[in-house]
């Protein structure tokens, strides 16, 4: 019995011992999970949304924000999308969450790597890390998470290859790696399918696959097209995938959504859409063929984006009007001709219509518009549409974007435009509109962008413009507008651009720039403004560009702008500014200035040495030129429309953005056009003033200067050393009182394509070397004491010779072959030669035996190998 009792106690102990850890486990699992969360939270630099995560609150773990528990009280979900969190995932102890099924950290600011310890979340089915700043590779440990059904890493900075271990995820139905920098595997020698992640075909449950905006290459393998029988969405936009469109589209007939634009697929769009009845979303690019009429069979189609860019003319097939479920239609960038087919009036659900950059013509018929009342975005810029805007446009009260630029629309802007109360973007530029800006426009209080440049609009700007409190981009340039500017004009929101160039405005610039002025660009050039620069402009410290060319403004140099941290372009050209340039009070005046144009004013006095010396931006011009940063931001915020922007400053000349080659823009979208305005250009133009004294030698230290113009002043002294200005393309010092010789170092400025030293008092001989050999006499005339080519005045021997110091790159006398050779010598030579010829002629005539003479002649000419002439 005793034995039985012992056995019983023993068993009881075993039972207790085996239960105890179980009981303890529940508590400790709570603890460790809470502990792991709090510890991680404390490593985050911003975590305001996680206030409930607190040890004192451990009992309520399951009601902590973003936390969901299972029945046992263990965490099964962490859902923190858009929680404004900033930090890394390194300190999140994944192994503490043995029951976690769902982790959603979408749209926060997590950076760093995806930790490989994520592989310990063995029950994970849902993983969303999209729209963070995560970098590095996708850890292969993801492949251990065999329960995973949903992965999204979209919108991070992940790179490298996708680990093949992904193929172990048999339950996966949603895979989204879009918007990263992922690449295809290296070309493997024993595989015929090169490049593409063909291992994905083993994930047979996949219904949604998004690899868009990466750097994937290669053909889409057949195995993928055939094995993934459940695939409904295939999104491959913007990679370098290859292969024929035909083979993809004919094999994947079950798809609901397919996006293949911006890849290297070949062939035309096959006319096989009758076999893809489920299609709802279709985005394709092709460089050839027409828009297939079988698209009309796609009765479920909601979203159609075809950027064909065909070199052939084609028309919009009227069958498209049968796709009555279409809400999004984009046919931009095609060489479409003709007018819009009337059948499009059937698309009553249409909310977005992009038909830009084509050759479409005809009127925007009042016939369409009453049917298109759902329309929110209408972009038809850069076509050949004609006629007036029909007054029916007032029916489109849902419109937020109305972009009609670069067509041949004419007539008045209809009053009813004021009833489009939701309008945020209105672009009517580059058309033939005339008459006044209808006052109803000032009712559109949601308007952010109002652009009407390059029309024939007249009249004044109403003070009611001040009601447009959301306005951030106002470009009314190149019209016939007149009158004074209303005082309300300068009160605008953030990042404002104001361009009123080339109108007939007069009067003073209103002195009403508010304390928190956020103006970025102010272009009032080519008007008749008078008075001084308004003193409140000093509030606009974020200015990047100020251009007031060709007005009647006066006053001293606006030295108060020297502390503007972002000012890149300052153009005061052709006004009545006067006075001296004061010595700067700050160490680095105008820290970002790259273009300074003070020409054609009445500035006087000596240029302070520091004035130029401390132009930091010009000393080391970055690749980013004027406006680049701004335009990138701007274009991002409003997407692709290039015609919003009237002009950019590039290479010192204002050139219209439209001049960028059209076809390429269409092919590559915004990126290429941004690339083309990237280069920095630096220029100083102080010409046509009354500056005097020496040219400060400090100018020779602005080594990234591209253009220097000091012409038509009263500068005296020598030309300073400019040999460090290795980017200099243009040097204009004409019409001053400069003396001395032309410094030979100018010969080394090989990028210089314009040189004007004329009308000074330079003397000596022009260095016959390097780049100075490439200018004609216009560069030097009007210097009576200057001699040598290309001037006709030759140097006499007593003329001071320039020190032809031979630079390291040239060893011999190639550059001064004419040293000691003057035209007088040539003439003497001619004279002797003529006499000699006459004598020879006579002798030949007389003796008819010239051989001896030939020998003689060759001896005279010092022939090197006389043996041939025995």
């Amino acid at each position: 019995m005793e034995a039985l009792r012992v056995a019983f106690i023993f068993l009881l102990h075993i039972l207790l011992f085996s239960l105890f850890p179980f009981a303890l486990n529940i508590v400790s699992s709570d603890r460790t999970e809470a502990e792991a969360l709090v510890r991680w939270k404390n490593t985050l630099s911003s975590h305001d949304s996680l206030d409930s995560w607190d040890f004192n609150n451990v009992r309520n773990l399951c009601s902590w924000s973003g936390v969901v528990c299972n029945i046992e009280g263990s965490i099964s979900q962490i859902n923190l999308p858009r929680a404004n969190l900033n930090g890394t995932l390194d300190q999140l102890n994944f192994s503490s969450f043995s029951n976690l099924a769902s982790l959603n950290l979408e749209d926060n600011d997590f950076h760093g790597l995806i930790p490989s310890t994520i592989g310990s979340l063995s029950k994970l089915t849902f993983l969303d890390l999209s729209y963070n700043l995560l970098s590095g590779i996708i850890p292969p440990e993801i492949g251990i998470l065999s329960e995973l059904q949903y992965i999204s890493f979209q919108g991070n900075d992940l790179n490298g290859q996708v680990p093949y271990q992904i193929s172990h995820l048999q339950k996966l139905w949603y895979l989204n790696f879009g918007y990263n920098n992922l690449t295809s595997p290296e070309r493997s020698k024993n595989s015929l399918t090169l490049g593409f992640l063909d291992f994905i075909h083993t994930c047979e449950n996949l219904t949604y696959l998004d690899l868009s905006y990466n750097s994937f290459t290669g053909e889409i393998p057949n195995s993928l097209l055939t094995n993934l029988s459940k695939l409904e969405y295939l999104i491959l936009t913007d990679n370098s995938f290859q292969g024929s469109l035909q083979s993809i589209l004919t094999k994947m007939t079950k798809l609901k959504g397919i996006k293949l634009t911006r890849n290297n697929f070949s062939g035309s769009i096959p006319d096989t859409f009758s076999f893809m009845p489920n299609l709802e979303i279709l985005e394709l690019t092709s460089s050839q063929g027409n828009i297939p009429s079988s698209l009309g069979k796609l009765r479920n189609l909601q979203h159609l984006d075809l950027t064909i860019n065909s070199p052939l003319n084609s028309t919009i097939p009227s069958e498209l009007g049968l796709c009555t479920n279409l809400t999004y239609l984009a046919l931009s960038g095609n060489s479409l001709t003709g007018s819009l087919p009337l059948s499009l009036a059937n698309l009553t659900k249409l909310s977005t219509l992009f038909i830009t950059d084509s050759n479409l013509s005809g009127h925007i018929l009042p016939y369409f518009i009453p049917n298109w009342t759902q329309l929110m975005i209408l972009w038809i810029q850069n076509n050949s549409f004609i006629g007036e805007i029909p007054s029916e446009i007032g029916l489109l009260t849902n419109l937020t974007n109305l972009v009609l630029s670069d067509n041949r629309f004419s007539g008045y802007i209809p009053q009813v435009i004021g009833s489009l109360q939701n309008l945020e973007i209105l672009n009517l530029s580059i058309n033939l509109f005339s008459g006044q800006i209808p006052p109803t426009i000032w009712n559109l209080t949601k308007l952010r962008i109002l652009v009407t440049f390059h029309n024939n609009l007249s009249g004044t700007i109403s003070p009611e413009i001040g009601d447009l409190t959301s306005l951030m981009f106002l470009d009314l340039s190149m019209n016939q507008l007149s009158g004074q500017l209303p005082k309300t004009l300068s009160i605008f929101g953030e990042g404002m651009v104001l361009n009123l160039k080339k109108n007939h405005f007069h009067g003073t610039i209103p002195n009403t720039f508010p304390k928190e002025c956020e103006l970025i660009q102010l272009d009032l050039s080519e008007n008749q403004f008078n008075g001084t620069l308004p003193s409140t402009l000093v509030n606009c410290r974020m200015l990047q560009l100020l251009d007031i060319t060709n007005n009647e403004l006066s006053g001293p140099f606006p030295f108060w702008m020297e502390t503007f941290p972002e000012l890149q372009v300052l153009v005061l050209k052709s006004n009545r500014f006067h006075g001296i340039i004061p010595i700067s009070k700050v160490k680095h005046p105008f820290p970002k200035l790259q273009i300074l144009d003070m020409s054609q004013n009445e500035f006087t006095g000596i240029l302070p040495v520091e004035f130029l010396y401390h132009f930091k931006a010009m000393m080391n011009a970055s690749e980013k030129g004027i406006a680049t940063g701004f335009f990138i931001i701007f274009l991002k915020s409003i997407r692709v429309d290039i015609n919003f922007l009237s002009t950019i400053l590039l290479k010192g000349v204002t050139c219209e953005l439209r001049s960028i080659r059209r076809t390429t823009i269409l092919l590559k979208g915004v990126t290429c056009e941004l690339r083309s305005i990237r280069r920095a250009y630096t220029s100083i133009d102080l010409s046509n003033n009354k500056f005097q004294g020496n040219i400060p030698s400090s100018i020779g230290k602005i080594k990234d200067l591209h253009s220097l113009n000091l012409a038509s002043n009263n500068f005296t002294g020598h030309i300073p050393s400019l040999e460090n200005l290795t980017s200099l393309e243009s040097l204009d010092l004409h019409s001053n009182k400069l003396v001395g010789e032309i410094p030979w170092q100018l010969t080394k400025l090989t990028t210089m394509s314009f040189l004007n030293l004329s009308y000074n008092q330079l003397f000596g001989s022009i260095p016959q070397q390097g780049q100075l050999l490439t200018f004609d006499s216009n560069s030097y005339i009007g210097n009576p004491k200057l001699c040598g080519l290309p001037l006709t005045k030759m140097c006499r021997n007593d003329e001071p010779q320039p020190k032809l110091l031979v630079s390291t790159t040239q060893k011999d006398d190639d550059f001064n072959i004419f040293d000691g050779f003057t035209w007088q010598v040539v003439l003497m030579g001619y004279g002797c030669g003529m006499l000699f010829g006459l004598v020879v002629g006579y002798l030949i005539f007389r003796y008819e035996k010239p051989e001896w003479l030939i020998g003689f002649v060759y001896r005279v000419y010092k022939i090197k190998d006389g043996r041939r002439w025995r």
Binding site: D776, Y858, I863
Partner: protein
Amino acid sequence: MAIWVLFHLLLFLVLEPTDANLEGDALFALRREVHDPNNILQSWDPTLVDPCTWFHVTCDSQNRVTRLDLGNAKLSGKLVPDLGKLERLEYLELYMNNLVGPIPAELGNLKSLVSLDLYHNNLTGSIPPSLSRLSNLRFLRLNRNRLTGRIPRELTKLGNLKILDVSNNDLCGTIPSTGSFSKFTEDSFKNNSRLEGPELMGFVRYNVGGCN
């Protein structure tokens, strides 16, 4: 099929004449051909409507290229025939680089050219006679290359030629002495060990003399 393609191509050209950037394309062909270790051609973006905003390129008011300034630019590689398409080019400055290969005969199409400076390179082959079509040429400097063959007699037709320098090459034959060449001295031709000296009109024919 080929004709069909050609037809399309022609159609394309006819339809899109204004979008063409022929001069930019010609210059870009040069950029593609040469090695540019200092990246000085970085701004040459072929997607622009014309090359006038490219550094080292200068245009006239009609946006046609008038100057190409690439002296001492550390470029190596070959010249491209495409350069011959720059109809308004006045100054072709490619001196002091490491260019190799022949001078393309197509440079003879540069009918506005005033200055052809290819000196101080490693160019080979002969001086193309087509340069005689450059009726505006005033400066022709080909010195310090490895050019061979005769000095084309046709060059004497260059009535505006003010300066000629073909010294320090490996030219052969006799030196034309008529036309614009009558004003050039020995210095223009020196250091060509196989060069025979000036021809004598009426006595020794231009092509007399070994040039093998």
